[in-house]
Amino acid sequence: MIRVPVARFLPSMRTLAIVPPFLWLALFLLVPFLMVLKISLADLNFGTPPYTPLLTFEEGATQLTLHTQGYARLFSDSLYVTTYLNSVKMALVTTFWCVVIGYPMAYYIARSSPQVRALLMLAVILPFWTSQLLRVYAWVGILRTDGLLNKALIGLGLISQPLEIYRTDVAVYIGMIYAYLPFFILPLYANLVKMDLRLLEAAYDLGAKPWQAFWQVTVPLSRPGVIAGAMLVFIPSVGEYVIPELLGGADTLMMGRVMWGEFFTNADWPMAAAVTCVMVLLLLVPLALFQYNQMKQIQAGREGASKVPTNA
């Protein structure tokens, strides 16, 4: 009789701790995306489900039918190409302005005294916690032709004709920069506040001028924070739906809107799925960069923690 230790086949405590949350993510994140990929290769079907099956059984043989006309249309129809390019452009401009406005803010907050710092960060976080939808809606009243901004500028005598901002791309930019600015400031602040200030002192001792120390010490050291913040702005901006819908004009082309339209208005699932897949494909490089950055930060944090003597 052969005895097999049962324990070897039971999952260890460690596995039991690691696997269950993974199952949730696999079921509700990974599997759904694979299904989108599948449907993007199907054809439109009138009925339920509204797409054709990829695998069919005919005369005892399994047949795989892939329809790529959705993708073909994406690349031949200039509307889609323009929309993709425009979404990327808008996300890039948004990210650029978030860096320009957010970097000095994060920097000065991180270099304030602890009390002031806590207060200012609270002021940055507060809008982040309140409804983004309602805050973007607030811009409608400001940017309209008869809105507060135009009234103020006319009242000050700066302009005589109201500016047409509402329902243009400019309004979308303002809304997106506004909505995503805290997402840029938070990770950058976390990075800047942890920076070892002795490095700056060393630079000064070696004769660096303040701006030299800033460009050669602070900026390179804050790179992980800038990357994390920029990705938190760029990636979701590419697929943004609510802001262009509220502030943009009918001609503000963004992928999120096209996907929404294909899905809800045209009920063309394979097309919506193809648009989704290409969008994710486009975001793959920034996503990988973001993940790599996250991984490095988690690991750096761990090594940092283990270096601290535990009995100190």
């Binding site: 949350p21 949730w24 489900p49 983004q132 400001i142 009234k151 919506a272 969008m279």
Partner: protein, 260 residues
């Protein structure tokens, strides 16, 4: 330089909020011209059956979402901070941080497709509605909770946990009677963040809700996409005040603990 950049930055962040609140007290239905102080939009708000029903629904979903997101998010955060490297670590980190950045439209479309496939093969879930929205919101919010908890656990002094282990407590017992109480403020912060994220979401809810099932943000969105609505200003004011007070209280609690 310092005060210029901070001043302009905060003006940019707060001017829209302040204007929204001021004009919620405007007597005129023309939202951008002031004609006198009035509570009429607040009155209209509390008589608006549709908005109130949607709000109740949203609060229920947000409560359930926040609770589930804290349970799973804390679990993930602990695994990331304390379990060391394991096979598939990169995939794990990738999957948990994906919802932080992936456009919500992508998340919404793919989950909707999953539920429709499940319905046709398993016959469950029977309808889109509260359950499907809850799953979507939980998947989104647990990522935020995991990030908060992970960094909090990492900053913990390990010696307490190690002492308990040395004294013979099981790892599970250590987690529940040492680690959890130590991170309680972060748990509360995670719960509140998940609650507000769920309460604010339009995109996932629009994809995952069923016919005749409208959450508060969906209702608000359908009203304001066509222009200004004074009762929405009133709603926003109440909402921002409530959130503001909660955040300030939470902040004081955490901050006082840290300085004490």
């Amino acid at each position: 330089m310092k005060w210029l950049s901070l001043g302009l930055g905060f003006l940019f962040l707060y001017a829209p909020i302040v204007s929204l609140m001021v004009f919620s007290f405007n007597a005129s239905p023309l939202v951008t011209s002031w004609s006198g102080f009035s509570f009429r939009w607040y009155e209209a708000l509390f008589k608006d059956e549709v908005l109130l029903r949607a709000a109740w629904l949203s609060f229920q979903i947000a409560g359930l979402t926040a609770t589930a997101a804290v349970v799973i998010g804390t679990w993930v955060g602990y695994v990331l901070a304390r379990m060391g490297r394991f096979r598939g670590f990169a995939v794990y980190v990738g999957m948990i941080s994906a919802p932080l950045v992936i456009p919500e439209v992508v998340l919404g479309i793919s989950l909707l497709i999953l539920f429709i496939e499940m319905r046709s093969t398993l016959g469950w879930p029977a309808d889109n509605g509260m359950f499907t929205i809850w799953v979507g919101h939980t998947t989104l919010c647990m990522a935020y909770v995991a990030v908060i908890i992970q960094s909090r656990i990492r900053d913990l002094d390990r010696s307490l946990e190690e002492a308990a282990l040395d004294l013979g407590a099981s790892p599970l017992r250590v987690f529940f009677s040492i680690t959890l109480p130590l991170i309680a403020p972060a748990l509360a912060a995670g719960w509140l963040l998940a609650f507000t994220l769920s309460l604010d979401d339009v995109v996932l809810a629009s994809f995952l809700s069923g016919p005749g099932f409208s959450t508060l943000p969906m209702e608000v969105f359908s009203r304001v996409r066509l222009g200004l609505r004074p009762e929405v200003n009133a709603l926003a004011t109440l909402f921002i005040l409530a959130v503001g007070i909660c955040v300030i209280i939470a902040h004081r609690l955490v901050w006082r603990k840290e300085t004490a």
